[in-house]
């Protein structure tokens, strides 16, 4: 059976190669790399060999486009890990250091379009659950402002992610360590997932990214912070490129107030487990049954 399926796929591939070379002959330029990209497999179906070839091609492409040598990792999930995040609402002062720490680490487009994975909401004090009172364009001279609390929101890495369910091409999925990731080479840009996410965790690349060359982060992961393309969706990955090496995410390191906590939910001695066991925690929009792995808590 399997043999059959593959031979059919191979047949289609050959057919498209033939068709494309036809285009090539008729004057439309079509390079080998573009062709390979067009024929690239789904990430989960790639063999190690395929991955290596893909990475090599992508690194060459990025070198050409950005003039920098990238190292693209494909490091997989470590067995026995399930990543969880903690955010201390009694400490956040709304300074947005996390937002821009993320921008730098994850190669976000800086303008036209400007993309942020973290949105810091400002809410009137005593009104934490009325999200309709939230404002994220606040711009006072100093924070925190009296009478307000701040609530940063990003991808909550749901155990039951609605965005994954709606993707018509399975370009986004949940990894074994619980991270919800996107294959930017597989995404068709339909934005169903953006509509499905109850946390506004996903953003869309309306144009090719604008990243200052000197600020490029060249240590990237295929499923994470490599530069994206026009017409694809991206989102917070809990810094997959860092956490799979055991490093704290960039937002944790950027926060000046120690608001942000991170760890392995399966490790009973981790920071995240301690705060779930000992602090008052809640997860956002729990009633939707999305089972986020992002725990808001009160340290005070």
């Amino acid at each position: 059976m399997a043999g059959n399926r593959y031979s059919r796929r191979d047949f289609i591939r050959m057919a498209s190669v033939a068709a494309l070379s036809g285009f090539g002959l008729s004057g439309v330029s079509c390079k080998k790399a573009d062709l390979e990209e067009f024929l690239q497999k789904h990430y989960l179906e790639m063999t190690e060999e395929d991955k290596k070839r893909t990475i090599k091609r992508l690194e060459e492409k990025y070198l050409k486009k950005y003039g920098k040598q990238f190292t693209i990792s494909t490091q997989g999930a470590k067995p026995g890990t399930l990543w969880g995040y903690g955010l201390d609402l009694s400490r956040c002062i709304g300074c947005r250091r996390c937002v821009y720490g993320c921008v730098k680490e994850n190669n976000h487009s800086r303008y036209n379009p400007q993309l942020h994975w973290i949105r810091v909401l400002r809410l009137p004090e005593g009104s934490l659950i009325n999200l309709e009172n939230a404002e994220h364009y606040y711009d006072p001279a100093l924070v925190p402002e009296p009478g307000y609390v701040y609530m940063p929101v990003q991808c909550q890495h749901c155990e039951n992610p609605p965005c994954v369910k709606v993707c018509p091409v399975h370009a986004t999925w949940k990894e074994p360590d619980g991270l919800v990731v996107v294959d930017y080479n597989w995404c068709i840009g339909c934005r169903y997932c953006i509509a499905a996410c109850p946390y506004k965790g996903r953003v869309f690349n309306w144009a090719e990214p604008n990243i200052p060359a000197e600020e490029l982060n060249t240590a990237v992961h295929y499923l994470g912070n490599r530069p994206r393309y026009k017409n694809v969706v991206d989102k917070c990955t809990f810094c997959v490129q860092r956490v799979r090496q055991g490093r704290y995410p960039a937002c944790v390191e950027a926060c000046p107030t120690g608001t942000r906590k991170f760890g392995n939910l399966l490790d009973p001695n981790s920071e995240i487990r301690y705060l779930i066991d000992h602090k008052r925690v809640f997860r956002m929009k729990e009633d939707l049954n999305t089972e986020p792995k992002f725990y808001y808590f009160f340290g005070l």
């Binding site: 903690g86 201390d88 002062i93 709304g94 300074c95 947005r96 250091r97 937002v99 821009y100 800086r110 303008y111 036209n112 400007q114 942020h116 949105r119 994220h136 364009y137 606040y138 711009d139 006072p140 001279a141 100093l142 924070v143 925190p144 090496q245 055991g246 490093r247 704290y248 944790v252 390191e253 926060c255 000046p256 107030t257 120690g258 906590k261 991170f262 760890g263 392995n264 981790s270 920071e271 301690y274 705060l275 000992h278 602090k279 340290g299």
Partner: protein, 189 residues
């Protein structure tokens, strides 16, 4: 290999002696530890305490001075320090030591290094200290697994003489979605 019976007995004796010696050393260690009165605090990988430029070691200036242990307002030196941290009940020499200027002093009189200042803070701020030790209060960076990690000291974030956080300038808000509000888009930067 061939051992005679005598050799066997001999070996056993040696082993016995070793065990006795080891257990004696172990009990001595435990005894000392109990005598010490309190379990030694764990060492944490902390950065250098944030001393003001050129102020440490304090003995550079204090060495030749006679210590005046009378509680008073400092008029000549350290005038930039306004104690806003339990100033009614405390003053300099409750935490700094008059005899050893380069060390801090616990309530018990024990001297500790500046890099262990968390023990001093923890005397009053018990729950915060407990949370800090497990990593839920305060900031840490680096590796949580498989590499070096840095625990920020209490005093890396809180000025010990005036610990309340001061308001800071926030980073700019995101552009509003409409292009006319997007200054970078307008100027074509």
């Amino acid at each position: 290999m061939y051992y005679s019976k005598q050799q066997d007995v001999c070996l056993e004796r040696v082993n016995m002696r070793r065990i006795v010696l080891l257990s004696f050393l172990l009990s001595l260690f435990v005894f000392c530890w109990v005598l010490d009165g309190r379990a030694k605090e764990e060492d944490f990988p902390v950065p250098r305490p944030p001393f003001s430029e050129g102020i440490f070691p304090c003995s550079n200036c204090h060495a030749g001075m006679e210590a005046n242990t009378k509680r008073r307002e400092l008029k000549e030196e350290h005038t930039n320090i306004q104690l806003k941290h339990g100033s009614v009940s405390r003053w300099c020499l409750d935490c700094h030591d008059a005899t050893n200027r380069d060390m801090l002093k616990l309530a018990s009189g024990e001297h500790i290094d500046f890099s262990h200042s968390y023990e001093l803070c923890g005397q009053c701020h018990g729950p915060t200290y407990r949370d800090w030790k497990v990593g839920v209060h305060g900031k840490r960076i680096g590796y949580f697994d498989g590499g070096p990690r840095t625990y920020f000291l209490c005093v890396n974030c809180h000025n010990p003489h005036d610990p309340k956080f001061k308001p800071i300038k926030p980073e700019p808000p995101p552009f509003k979605p409409l292009y006319k509000y997007n200054p970078a888009a307008r100027s074509g930067k």
